[in-house]
């Protein structure tokens, strides 16, 4: 491809790409996100291509591996364009049936998504509640474009926002637009993006940096991975616009090494954008230059903190700088003014520039405009990636989009915001999801992890799980976090083992408050949230543990397993499954569990065909 030297060149390229493309041409899009790949979507795409070739249709029908469609639970997802026919759970061996239906203008019935409510098959994504109730703005192109094709991105209007910013707007105007839009950082804290940019623009010095924080260390969250994998150019375009606004000439995309596909797609996108002159020197002939590099994070949750992330790129241990310190926007990477924004924040920028701040403000709430992507996981029917306007309630998200609990009658709680967030009980499900409302109830937006918990989840054990995480991830620099998380973990472990002592709960609260107030960085300051929120909303569970009971039956030391002799048919499956050799008996007569040998792993419970095993 030729290098683009002006916005007019870009426009001409877009038109020429669109001219060569027939909008009525059949295209089978196959989801190529990490989730669907695990279900064999790559083999499926190959199978579809082979089948089309066999039918001599290779030239007439295109097969495209796209980014994540969101409904990961039912992958691999296939959509046939332009009609928008939606298939779910398509296996590689279904390739022939899909192609046959396409040839005859029919539908491969067995691949249709069946609405669990009505039991009726559904033909279009828009008719599925999971999609109908979403507002996919940032994710709009995921599932439509091939993330490794810059032509695909340009064809749908990609890099137009950059062209507009460079040719029609001054850097100050770009900042003003983002400020007026009210965009707040999607990484967790919700800091106003425009304010950050303005402060960096004001900072003196010829050398500045932009960084994309894709170190999505929050367990239970994968929005950033899906955006980087599915539409890397959107993020890069946002970064170039931001760099122009603050006057940066270099930047880094910081991606977790655990996300190999995201790393690969970003590298491809950077190379493509450079080749076309949309990145690198003299972008679109404007005289503005930006060079981007990928940095693979080596695994440390604390690197989500801006000064720790900078330390990590500089080749040091990722430890936050001590206070008092200047802001990263003044003294950042290599001591230069630096803007660090989260993946999703950058991805919103081109949308704001193209459609204007008024449009952005029309989405979401007054204090938190725009949309937010959540990864909806745990005990919910439709696990996956959802994008919703800010201000939607937890109930709409969990029941309306998520389809309610997959096991049991109700959802006990949602864990929102990961290790920095909290567990909210069902009576708070009408809380609107925005930065401020969530903080008001002791949780936080975090990066967007939303784990639905069932009656089988023990809240004390959940708190212990998160403290185990933060304790291990504490960088160890400041004593309140290093020692406090350790003490909290000890107290919680003791409780889950049934060894709690009177006064433990007030001690736990006291330590939690201390850690929250005295820690140096966000990791320590928010680490007690899972403890404080569960103590506030599920105190009776803590008290039960003090009395030696786990109401959810999740804490191993506090449960026992028993086989009901009346229900047991003596099939012996449990004894075969038991890794401890703790189950005894003869075929066709009731089996028995020896409590002293039982490790309480629950494997027997899962395999028993007659549900004869009881947990108490």
């Amino acid at each position: 491809m030729v290098r683009l030297r002006s916005p007019a060149d870009l426009d001409a390229l877009r038109k020429s790409i669109c001219r060569t493309r027939d909008p009525s041409k059949l295209c089978i899009t196959v989801c190529g996100g990490t989730g669907c790949r695990a279900y064999g979507s790559e083999e499926l795409a190959t199978g579809l291509r082979q089948e089309l070739d066999r039918q001599h249709l290779g030239g007439e029908v295109e097969v495209k591996l796209t980014g994540c469609h969101g409904l990961c639970e039912r992958g691999p997802i296939v959509i046939i364009q332009p009609a928008g026919l939606f298939y779910a759970g398509v296996k590689p061996e279904d390739a022939a049936a899909v192609v046959r239906a396409l040839v005859h203008g029919g539908v491969a019935d067995r691949c249709l998504y069946v609405d669990p409510e009505s039991g009726e098959p559904v033909r279009r994504a828009e008719d599925i509640p999971f999609y109908r109730k979403q507002m996919r703005v940032v994710l709009a192109a995921n599932g439509r474009i091939d993330p490794t094709s810059i032509a695909d991105y340009i064809a749908i209007g990609g890099y137009q926002a950059l062209a507009k910013a460079l040719s029609e707007m001054t850097p100050e105007e770009v900042i003003a637009e983002v400020q007026r839009a009210g965009l707040r950082g999607r990484g967790g804290a919700g800091f106003p993006t425009g304010t950050k940019w303005a402060s960096c623009r004001r900072a003196p010095g010829p050398h500045k940096y932009v960084i994309c924080n894709g170190d999505e260390g929050d367990p239970g969250a994968y929005m950033d991975r899906s955006v980087l994998e599915g539409n890397p150019h959107l993020v890069i375009e946002g970064m170039v616009i931001g760099a122009y606004a603050i006057g940066a000439s270099e930047g880094y995309v910081y991606v977790r090494a655990e996300y190999p596909l995201a790393v690969k797609h970003v590298r491809i996108a950077i190379a493509q954008a450079e080749e076309l002159g949309l990145l690198g020197d003299d972008i679109l002939g404007s005289g503005f230059s930006l060079h981007l590099r990928v940095f693979e994070g080596a695994g440390a949750f604390v690197c989500g903190e801006s000064t720790a992330l900078v330390a990590s790129i500089e080749g040091r241990r990722g430890m936050p700088s001590p206070l008092p310190r200047p802001r990263t926007t003044e003294v950042g990477l290599w001591g230069k003014p630096t803007v660090i924004n989260n993946v999703e924040t950058w991805a919103n920028v081109p949308l704001i520039i193209t459609r204007g701040w008024k449009w952005f403000r029309s989405l979401g709430t007054e204090g938190s405009p725009g949309t937010k992507i959540f990864s909806l996981t745990g005990n919910v029917r439709n696990t996956g990636l959802v994008e919703v306007p800010m201000g939607i309630t937890l109930r709409e998200l969990v029941y309306g989009i998520g389809g309610g609990p997959r096991v049991g009658e109700r959802c006990k709680a949602v864990q929102i915001g990961g290790p920095s967030g909290g567990c909210l009980p069902e009576q708070l499900f009408d809380t609107p999801i925005d930065f401020d409302s969530l903080q008001g109830v002791g949780a936080m937006m975090g990066s967007g992890g939303l784990v639905v918990l069932s009656e089988d989840s023990c809240m004390v054990e959940m708190a212990r799980f998160f403290l185990e995480f933060t304790q291990a991830e504490s960088c160890g620099q400041c004593p309140p976090c290093r020692l406090g998380t350790k003490r909290m973990l000890e107290l919680l472990t003791r409780l889950t083992e049934g060894k709690g002592r009177p006064g433990d709960l007030s001690l736990l609260e006291e330590v939690a408050r201390g850690v929250s107030e005295a820690s140096l960085c966000g990791l320590g300051q928010t680490a007690p949230n899972p403890v404080l929120s569960t103590l506030a909303y599920f105190r009776e569970e803590y008290e039960a543990h003090l009395a030696g009971r786990c109401p959810a039956g999740a804490c191993r030391a506090l449960v026992s397993y028993e086989i009901s002799p009346e229900t047991c048919v003596g099939c012996g499956l449990c004894a075969k499954t038991c890794s401890q050799g703790a189950i005894f008996g003869q075929p066709r007569s009731p089996y028995r569990i020896e409590p002293r040998l039982c490790s309480r792993c629950g494997a027997c419970l899962a395999v028993c065909p007659t549900k004869a095993i009881r947990k108490g």
Partner: protein, 158 residues
């Protein structure tokens, strides 16, 4: 740690003698040798002009790096929140039991490492295990572990 010149060059990359090159250099070395031996750290220190104490400090800070030898095949078990609430720890236990994994995370025959990881970002498939060939296996249960290992063995003929 002995500071003499290692007999053979372990690390062949030639990044700029710059502090920022340290983590990529460690990643490259680990990619090649599956862990970071003492001689390799010393060599990187010498090449980049960064004190060995600092190289060691960085190598022990990040979870990606391992100073201990790892198995030829690495199985990763996700212990993120979504996997945790769907029983990932039981899956890990079963893997440990079947492969007789010791304290060092290595199977009895030294061929396989079983490594718990914080989150693989494949939460919708929870609980997730990634096989030695990089393939993702979703919806794992202790009962499926046997079949999973069989499939891996079949795939790598070992």
């Amino acid at each position: 740690m002995a500071m003499g010149k290692p007999a053979r060059r372990l690390f062949t990359g030639s990044p700029a003698p710059h502090e920022g090159a340290l983590i990529p250099a460690l990643q490259e070395l680990q990619e090649k040798l599956r862990h970071l031996p003492a001689a390799g750290l010393a060599e990187i220190s010498e090449r980049l002009g960064i004190p060995l104490s600092r190289v060691f400090g960085v190598a022990t800070f990040y979870s990606q790096f391992s100073l201990q030898p790892r198995g030829k095949h690495v199985i990763r078990v996700c212990l993120g929140t979504a996997c945790h609430v769907r029983g990932a720890s039981q899956v890990l236990e079963e893997l440990h039991r079947r492969l007789a994994v010791g304290e060092d995370g290595l199977s009895a025959d030294g061929l396989v490492s079983v490594e718990p990881v914080r989150c693989l970002g494949a939460c919708a498939l929870a609980p997730v295990v990634v096989g030695a060939d990089g393939r993702y296996f979703g919806g794992m249960t202790p009962a499926k572990v046997g079949k999973f290992l069989q499939e891996l063995r079949g795939g790598k003929r070992g």
